[in-house]
Symmetry: C2
Subunit: 402 residues, 2 copies
């Protein structure tokens, strides 16, 4: 049967890192590797109430939450998602909005709606692994453009465009990027929207973490600055990832192709979770308190991680202090190789994701992504202690390309 596997499916590489990180599931390992939100941030009791109510929502052919639903998603949730985006200053309407099976599905559908094999999509360097996978699976050629503390270098992008690059889309995580933790600067947001108009590409603005800001001020969505922007969101970091409820709001011309692709992909997103998300996100008073609690929780964890890093690894690692989200992006000084460090760290009982998972640039192998989301402050301190010990064992391994 092996010989029947499509060229496309063969092309999706099995990640050696992913295999190695299965070891991080061992309860003895302190994992800084996951992208999991804090267990303490999942509002279990509020979700229980929402589930009870959801089962009682009637439909023509049985409870709405248990029967087949529309491919586009349940209308009240589409309304609510659009209203929330409008409240951020971006144009949005229920008819432009599709509920997806997590925002990961939004990326998969966008890849297939926009890209024929060989089409170019620009990503930030480094960029979210799941987006790279979904876009590659659709046949897109990824073109990574360098990023710095202010996010994607739109000036560098402009040079590439002027030199002839013609992407179908540019993918950015504009707030608290995964993995780098950076936020796209305001003037770059404007530049990006302008470049999209001038060169005729779509901006894919993925915003899983925007609400999790615990320092600094929010910036307007790229979608508020231009017409060629798809904005993706998710309930995964606000409520619970296991619900698999995400959404996207797209330029009108993309909606019908995306809906056709989604119908072929999974008919529709599970209806009961959609009702639960509608109940919780529509409860503004409760949500405001809940989100404030998440910010406090993540701020304390980011503080604990960065404090421990300063104490124990200040001479071996450089990093940015995060203003939100879930991640700290570190760079090993003297170009040590994080791919070599990982198995050593696992032996010391701590895990992280090496930079090579997020970039093809060999220099990225000196980097590592540390999540502060799922461990408590004492556990974070302990994890950094183990990381420090493992670095002492590292010796002077350097990335091949550095």
């Amino acid at each position: 049967v092996e010989e029947l596997v499509s060229v496309r499916a063969r092309g999706l590489r099995s990640s050696a890192i992913r295999d190695l990180l299965r070891l991080a599931e061992d309860p003895a390992v302190r994992s800084l590797a996951g992208g999991l939100p804090a267990a303490e941030g999942i509002p279990v009791e509020r979700l229980r109430t929402a589930l009870e109510r959801a089962l009682a929502v009637p439909g023509r052919y049985g409870p709405t939450g248990l029967q087949y639903g529309p491919t586009e998603g349940l209308a009240p949730l589409r309304d609510l998602v659009a209203a929330r985006l409008r409240a951020q200053g971006a144009p949005a309407d229920a008819t432009d909005t599709i509920i997806t099976t997590g925002s990961q599905q939004g990326l998969d559908l966008l890849g297939r709606a926009l890209c024929d094999p060989g089409d170019v999509v620009v990503v930030e360097d480094p960029s979210y692994l799941g987006a790279r996978q979904a876009l590659s699976a659709a046949g897109a050629r990824l073109h990574a453009v360098t990023a710095d503390d202010g996010g994607l270098r739109t000036d560098v992008l402009a040079e590439h465009l002027a030199a002839g690059l013609r992407p179908k889309a540019v993918y950015v995580v504009a707030n608290f990027q995964n993995p780098a933790g950076t936020t796209l600067a305001l003037e770059r947001r404007t530049d990006l929207a302008d470049l999209a108009d001038r060169y005729g590409f779509v901006v894919i603005e993925d915003d899983p973490y925007g609400a999790l800001r615990f320092a600094g001020s929010s910036l307007p969505p790229v979608r508020s600055l231009g017409d060629r922007v798809v904005t993706l969101g998710t309930a995964s970091k606000l409520l619970a990832p296991g619900l698999r409820v995400g959404w996207l709001t797209a330029p009108a011309a993309l909606v019908a192709p995306l809906v056709r692709l989604k119908q072929a992909a999974d008919l529709h997103t599970a209806t009961l979770p959609q009702l639960v998300v509608h109940d919780c996100l529509g409860d503004e008073a409760w949500l405001a308190g809940h989100v404030a609690g998440l910010r406090t929780l993540y701020a304390a964890r980011a503080d604990a991680l960065c404090g421990a890093l300063r104490l124990r690894l200040g001479e071996r690692l450089a990093w940015r202090e995060p203003q939100g989200g879930m991640f700290v992006w570190g760079r090993l000084r003297a170009d040590r190789d994080a791919d070599v460090l990982l198995p050593i760290s696992l032996r010391h009982g701590v895990a992280f994701v090496p930079g090579s998972a997020f970039t093809d640039d060999p220099a990225g192998r000196a980097c590592l992504r540390l999540s502060f989301a799922s461990l408590t402050p004492p556990e974070l301190v302990d994890a950094v202690e183990r990381l420090a010990e493992s670095m002492e064992d590292l010796g002077d391994a350097r990335p091949a390309g550095s």
Copy 2:
């Protein structure tokens, strides 16, 4: 933005029938068009109990049903699905089994795992619209092989193969096919498994309706007869479609590519619904009673529909008496055109799906699919009355190709 839409996405046709069938959502319309299971067959109270228990299942980072989960699906559910397939005589193991977001996602993943653009997949003529869409979206060229009362004509398939046809896969709904209601005969199941071995293709055996048999005897799964078979299943018709929980058991060499594609597609299927399905399907005593109830319910509805058809439409329509599933496939006598009938029927307050949705053969336009699943017996009698009235208005419109 319109000019950015991929060739692939443009190729997915927007179905005029689907647009027309939106009119069937009008509560005044008796819909024989849907593929929805009976509202009365959804075990709401049992699902409520399962949901309460699911919320209490602990995990390392919060409740298992609310946190991210493995791409392959939760291990206990994979075990259970494999055990159920083994109980039907087919080899199955948790490691060969993947939980999918409805069996529709299984079709999407298989299309992408097996097909590069232009690869051939054989489908029954007529065949399930959702499979045709998913496989086409993956770039497959569909090659329809004629079917009769015993399902796919494997002798005709053998002729095409001998003449040089080299499909990557053959897709069948072996039990109570959608739309034709037929069951693949035992000797044809053996033939199909043998042809798969001889010519090196995969059989995709989609089995959403197998448990809903109310007459005759069950036949062994094709997977019990050969090594090159993927079997798909779903909780949609046994429990509730809104959960979007399906599964597949595949030859070992396909599992890793399918998991990589699923990770890019939606990371994993919603965890809470997986726990709910595991709870209900693992409760054997309850399940046996529930399935017996479903069979009685659908038997009564099939009887009511066929009885009314005999009384009111015996001279205008030919059809097979179903032994299970949800559908009756009718053929208008004198080659009347079901595409022309549909808008007339909608004006009379009844809907069905015209045969043209399931086949490219112009002769299929004389056919229609009638679901007996979602209406009560009195509603079914009324629907047939309306259908009879609309046929009186039809005149002698015939399909273009007949």
